[in-house]
């Protein structure tokens, strides 16, 4: 037996246009049959997934990223056997559980206790297994007091906790997860991520769809970028996630030109030493030299040059400037060297400016934005990770009792 847990070979799913949107009425089918006199309209088809092949090894955690409608969820549904492929085949070795929704099979009229059994059975647990894990599930859910209350009286948060408690106690060899972590509050997400990492540490194979690239970065070793129903890129998560992010920003960049007052204009920017296509991606935490290229039309005397760094929420993270700059007409390279930029992986924006005595010459929101894709060195839960990505070392030792000062 090979060590592949999932092997997909040329799989494809075709929909008739309109088929996915809604069901039909028998009335329409009958009236169409009479009206068209046997002539059939040519059918339009779309391929939601087309000619996809890949292998996932046992114990591997693989992320699927892509735009809405790119086909990643359809691919997951094919592997979860919710829908059948039109062509191709796949082989899955091991017990499979799919988690496409939290609370699958919950019924509002039934109590929490009854719903644990129902949802557990629908997700693939045996009755004996649910009985065995019941107390653990209830404890994880933190809704002990309401366990015999009908679900319709639960708050949405309580229902969510109960639902995830059931899902977290599935023990499949292969787990297919779609976007479920995007619901719920921060502490709920934290619990989900923690539990998922436990699962992957236990050597289970996970296929994980998410829009939150940083979750994928955190959890997955490998990633597939799905675009127009096909695998566009695959490889290590860092590489694929960067390519994907760079691509999704390119679309915006072209419309984002700097203001031009005629005396000077910034043209482009790059990270010195970065290779061609990825001139805006920061991959290592060491000295960074930012090159801003400006075209100067008239001699500029004693002007101010500023550089600022913003995060996605447009908060200024850092800024500095120099005065007394003299520029002759021509193309200039303005370099700003920073010994280290210890930032969390993510998207950041540079802004560069030239001012003459308080009057703007050019002030440019640099595009494309900068992608930081360094190794995360922070807490694995996003809300504790902060902004900085600095190395740290923990030392814990026991002090002799005389050092302890009692209040």
């Amino acid at each position: 037996m090979s060590d592949a847990a999932i092997r997909v070979d040329g799989i494809g799913k075709r929909y008739r246009v309109g088929q996915r949107e809604s069901y039909r009425a028998l009335r329409d089918v009958l009236s169409n049959a009479f009206r068209s006199n046997g002539r059939r309209k040519p059918k339009d088809f779309i391929w939601a997934v087309r000619d996809v092949s890949f292998e996932v090894k046992q114990g591997e955690v693989v992320g699927l990223i892509g735009r809405n409608g790119a086909g990643k969820s359809t691919l997951l549904k094919l592997l979860a056997r919710i829908t059948r492929p039109t062509v191709g085949r796949a082989e899955l070795h091991g017990r499979i559980a799919s988690l496409l929704e939290v609370g699958t099979g919950f019924h509002p009229e039934l109590t929490g206790r009854e719903n644990i059994f129902l949802s557990g059975a629908i997700l693939g647990m045996s009755k004996a297994e649910i009985v065995r894990k019941f107390d653990e599930i209830v404890a994880f859910s933190e809704v002990e007091r309401f366990i015999d209350t009908p679900l319709k009286h639960y708050s949405s948060g309580m229902g969510m906790r109960l639902a995830f408690a059931v899902a977290a106690h599935l023990e499949p060899e292969i787990l297919l997860v779609d976007e479920v972590l995007s619901v719920g509050d921060a502490s709920f997400q934290k619990k989900c991520l923690g539990k998922m990492q436990d699962v992957s540490r236990a050597g289970r194979t996970i296929l994980f769809v998410s829009h939150q690239i940083n979750q994928i970065r955190r959890l997955c070793q490998r990633a597939f970028w799905i675009d127009a129903g096909q695998i566009r890129e695959h490889g290590s998560t860092a590489t694929v996630a960067n390519l994907y992010e760079a691509n999704s920003r390119d679309v915006q960049a072209s419309s984002d030109t700097g203001t031009n007052l005629g005396r000077a204009q910034f043209l482009r920017w790059e990270i010195e030493g970065a290779n061609g296509d990825l001139a805006n991606v920061l991959v290592r935490d060491r000295e960074v030299r930012l090159k801003f290229i400006a075209k100067v039309a008239q001699p500029l005397r004693n002007i101010h040059h500023g550089v600022a760094l913003y995060d996605q929420a447009r908060r200024v993270l850092w800024g500095n400037g120099i005065d007394g700059v003299n520029l002759e007409p021509g193309i200039h390279e303005l370099v700003c060297a920073i010994p280290s930029l210890p930032l969390q992986p993510g998207v950041y924006h540079w802004r560069v400016s030239l001012y003459d005595n308080g009057e703007r010459i050019d002030d440019w929101d640099c595009s494309p934005p900068m992608f930081v894709s360094t190794e995360p060195r922070t807490h694995r839960q996003d809300e504790f990770a902060g902004i900085l990505n600095v190395p740290s070392e923990f030392t814990i030792r026991c002090l002799p009792t005389e050092h302890v000062v009692m209040p």
């Binding site: 799989i11 592997l79 899955l92 017990r95 799919s98 699958t104 059975a121």
Partner: protein
């Protein structure tokens, strides 16, 4: 999917092969058997929810056939003087109404089985057959409760069931299989064409008058009675009355025709349902 055999389940995980739909017969009874606990849970859910939603709960299972029995006895028996095969009017109608109500309720529940569970169907895999099967099985509790009233009713009229009672389970099985066969057709059609559920009440009513619920099949000339068995419910209802009360003649050739017909409905229902099954998650 190949069923893993229990001895090597630890060394080698089960292998699942995913392929496009192939051929016209892919019904996997092994898999269905492995999912028997899920069927049990669906039945359990249906019953729990149904009894929680009606104020009088289980009493409804007796009231519904009992009240209908009274109306039938008054209009068809007392006023229209339809023959009752030598049975007391109340016993005659009640024994016929029990299987009929089981059948009609099962059809209604099975029709909605796929559409009402679409949120589950689009999120997790299990053999879709589990849904109409559990819809048909969950009606058996109501049926059993309704059957309880027949005991004092027969005792009152001093009717003692005979050896024919041994065949009662066979007729019950026939009723379940027929309800499943017709339920498969209707649930699959309702999943594809959502207006089917408006047709079902009419179909049920029509079917009732074509079945010997309000009258005895003896009103059909003996020469043609086997043909009447083409409506499998005719065989089921006459079989129920005969096996429970021991009165009248056993339904001979008619029941053979009914059994064959029920098997045809079940087999075609399975084929049609399975054809729908592979695409249902795309349309519901």
């Amino acid at each position: 999917m190949t069923a893993a055999n229990t001895t090597n389940i630890l060394t080698e995980p089960p292998v699942l092969r995913i392929t496009p739909p192939q051929g016209w017969w892919e019904v996997d009874f092994h898999e269905l058997w492995r999912f028997r606990e899920l069927i049990y849970f669906f039945v359990w859910r249906d019953i729990k929810v149904r009894y929680k939603q009606t104020a009088i709960g289980a009493a409804w299972a007796i009231l519904q056939p009992a009240l209908t029995m009274l109306v039938f006895a008054l209009f068809f028996g007392k006023l229209a003087h339809l023959p009752t095969e030598g049975l007391p009017i109340l016993v005659f109608y009640y024994a016929g109404l029990l299987p009929w109500m089981y059948f009609s309720n099962s059809l209604t529940n099975a029709t909605a089985a796929i559409t009402q569970n679409q949120n589950i169907i689009t999120k997790v895999y299990f053999p879709r057959l589990a849904l109409p099967i559990s819809a048909v099985l969950s009606g058996l509790l109501d049926f059993a409760i309704g059957l309880l009233l027949l005991i004092p009713l027969m005792a009152y009229y001093h009717i003692r069931p005979g050896i024919s009672l041994l065949l009662f389970p066979a007729f019950l099985l026939l009723a379940v299989l027929l309800a499943l066969g017709a339920g498969l057709w209707l649930s699959a059609m309702n999943a594809m064409y959502r207006d089917v559920r408006y047709v079902v009440p009419f179909l049920v009513q029509f079917w009732m008058f074509a079945s010997p619920v309000a009258y005895a099949s003896s009103i059909v000339p003996a020469k043609w009675r086997w043909l009447y068995g083409l409506n499998p419910m005719a065989g089921v209802i006459e079989g129920f009355r005969w096996s429970l009360t021991g009165r009248g003649d056993p339904p001979g050739r008619m029941i053979i025709v009914s059994v064959l017909m029920a098997l045809v409905v079940l087999a075609t229902g399975l084929i049609y349902f399975q054809k729908m099954e592979s695409t249902v998650a795309d349309v519901v």
